[in-house]
């Protein structure tokens, strides 16, 4: 159940970010944040740093892209 449950939880939580074509900044920010998480996760062993950094990158990109 573990991998299936985590995958389903991830997809359901990501769904609002990737739904609709008019949300390009949201989609781009989420994609970049996920890449940042992968990179940080490879360099650190914990859960908190990649989670918080991913959220911060997403927030910063959304702030930057929607203000532009």
């Amino acid at each position: 159940m573990g991998p299936a449950a985590l995958t389903a939880l991830l997809l359901v939580s990501l769904w609002p970010f990737f739904r609709g074509v008019s949300h390009a900044p949201r989609l781009l920010s989420a994609a970049v944040a996920l890449i940042v998480i992968v990179v940080v996760k490879r360099r650190t062993r914990g859960l908190a740093a990649p989670t918080l950094l991913g959220a911060a990158v997403y927030g910063a990109l959304m702030h930057w892209l929607t203000a532009a």
Binding site: A5, T7, L9, S13, A30, I37, K41, L47, T51, G59
Partner: protein, 198 residues
């Protein structure tokens, strides 16, 4: 608070109903005047996925070293607690698993209630948070689930992950997210079981 509920009711709701989406649904139903008889079954139906969470988690906890009653372990079970427990429990020593899980759900519960108290206290000054904070907070859960997924051996579980993702995407096009979640989990776990049996 925005639905016109008294601060004490809002905090009491967080203390008694430790389930984020359910609490929002409950308030959405109760605020316009829906009866508890109509609201409670809706909330229970929305949380039907916990029928799958419980047995899966008990299997990971093991039976021989369990001292606490199942209802106590079930109270703190949320999507986030379940995800963290499923990815981390295998690394915990059998004698420590129950204590570790109890600490996990207690931490999540205290953060939930503490966050509600903080939200009630700061409601007037935090009505319109900056975009960076608001959007960053909205991405915390996907980020956490993604990190927990990366903790697993992705190559070993590749087929389960891909089939669950595909099932989940298709189901979400036709069903509410909470139903798609439960069904995708079952489909993915069934495929995983078939792979192990074959």
């Amino acid at each position: 608070m925005q639905a016109g509920l008294h601060p004490v009711v809002v905090i009491a709701c967080s203390v008694c109903v430790f389930a984020g989406a359910s609490q929002f649904l409950l308030i959405t139903l109760l605020a316009p005047g829906a009866s508890l008889l109509a609201a409670i079954p809706t909330v229970l139906f929305m949380n039907a996925r916990h029928l799958f969470y419980g047995p899966a988690l008990l299997a990971r906890l093991g039976h021989s070293d369990r001292r606490l009653a199942s209802p106590l372990l079930a109270f703190g079970l949320t999507d986030e607690v379940f995800a963290a427990a499923m990815s981390q429990l295998e690394r915990i020593a059998p004698t420590q698993k129950e204590r570790w899980y109890l600490g996990l759900q207690l931490g999540a519960y205290l953060a939930w209630v503490g966050g509600t108290v903080l939200g009630v206290a700061l409601t007037s000054s935090f009505q319109d948070p900056p975009v960076l904070v608001r959007e960053g907070l909205s991405f915390i859960l996907p980020a956490l689930f993604f990190v927990l997924l990366l903790e697993l051996d992705l190559r070993r579980h590749r087929s389960v992950i891909l089939s669950t993702a595909l099932a989940c995407i298709v189901l979400m096009m036709f069903l509410p997210a909470h139903h798609a979640l439960a069904l995708a989990m079952v489909i993915g776990a069934t495929l995983n079981l078939r792979r192990h049996v074959a």
